[in-house]
Amino acid sequence: MAKERLLTCIVCPRGCQMKVLLSDEGAPISVEGNFCKRGVTYANDECTNPKRTVTSTVRCKSGAVVSVKTDTTIPKGMMFEVMAEINGVIAPDEVSIGDIVIANVCGTGANVVATSNTK
């Protein structure tokens, strides 16, 4: 018997309520309720390998704070690991938007990049 899973899409502020039909093995078969095709990608990922973007801040040498994000999504289960690595580094005093603060964070392939400028 195929199972159903209800999801709220987080791709955009629209927040589509989606219904995903899953096989016995848990693989997505079909998606309903999505407004755009990014919803299908999200639903498939969410049922197999859920991913999130992490945003946080990093302390600079001077004591100032600079905001950062992962430049791609990372596995949802690794959010706290990624946070620990982010909280373990100190950024240089001069950082611009897009500068890599941590390359390949926790081996996820994502870089932690600055999202604000210090100055």
Binding site: T8, I10, V65, M79, I97, S116
Partner: protein, 413 residues
Amino acid sequence: MKKDLVIIGGGPAGMAAAVAAYEAGIKDILILERDNALGGILRQCIHNGFGLHRFGEELTGPEYAYRYEKMVNELGIPYMLDTMVIEVSADKVVTAMNRENGIFSIQAGAVILAMGCRERPKGALNIAGARPAGIFTAGTAQKFVNMKGYMPGREVVILGSGDIGLIMARRMTLEGAKVKAVCELMPYSGGLARNIEQCLNDFNIPLHLSHTVVNIHGRERLEGVTIARVDENRRPIKESEEYIPCDTLLLSCGLIPENELTKGAGIALDRVTGGASVNGERETEIEGIFACGNVLHVHDLVDYVSEESAIAGKAAARYILGNSNKEISITLCTDGRVRYTVPQRLTEVADTSVYFRVADVYRDAKIVVRDGDRVIISKKKQRLAPAEMEKVELTKDVIASLSGGELSFSIEI
């Protein structure tokens, strides 16, 4: 000092209005900003999700703000930081002050009000109990964590399910705090569905709908709160009281447009939006004074703030150049299920997007717009909710065809 256009506020609204006015031919602009940088509240909104409509990509708040800051700088639009406007008069004299210049006045050709909004404070909530340290609005906590790098506490209860509260539930959790509950007085959330999902459900943070905080405990520092379920009249039910130990209470109970300057200019406020009443050009009832962004009505998305502010910027430019679009005598009225519309009045010539919010959650309903008895727009919606701003497009042809008088907006189930 004289300026063609003075813009009060250098957040997303003020910057977008400035860029649009400049591109429409007005070069003599001055933006007045009270903070020490442009960007407004976006500077502390370090989460992603901004810009999908405006830029077609997902940006964080500081990145979105920087896009506009760059445009302002590239166009060479002047701005003054650390400058507080203390008065705007009906004849468009703007009085401001800063450390360098003391108090000074500017005679403006046109003024755009872009002061944004602020959070409903704890004093406005009338919660019983003590007044210990550890109670913050969600936005204050956001500033501490994201701009200063300080954690306001370790064990957190959040009252109100507005988006900032939800975002802070996730942020505090990621930084190692334990968020024990989010209580929402209403039977539905005040935030976007995606934020319930990614900020609460991802971390198993319980959302208690129809719940409120009825007591605050602690002397020096908050020690706990008592929460209770509320009945359909939003009165707490005594038997449902529950004590939750915590050192921090965050309040996310609504945003209020910051309109002291508007009132000072003698502009009456719309009782529902808390902002000025405007026509399609975002012009207030005083000619040449415009308003846009969260000072006019609270938006869900900055993308729509930018869109609205560009309308105000272009219109201010037309006003200064002496070719304003004329207001027409059609009033937009609402049925109560639609709580308000912005704009409240229409302007000829222009295609107009009418924004509004609904009073309750409605399922399988229709948005109906009527010119007298004639239905001119009927749009089916699976779900309408107070937390989600809605939009209806009136083309200039539709506006030209209106019979006059009232245009009514209603929700039919």
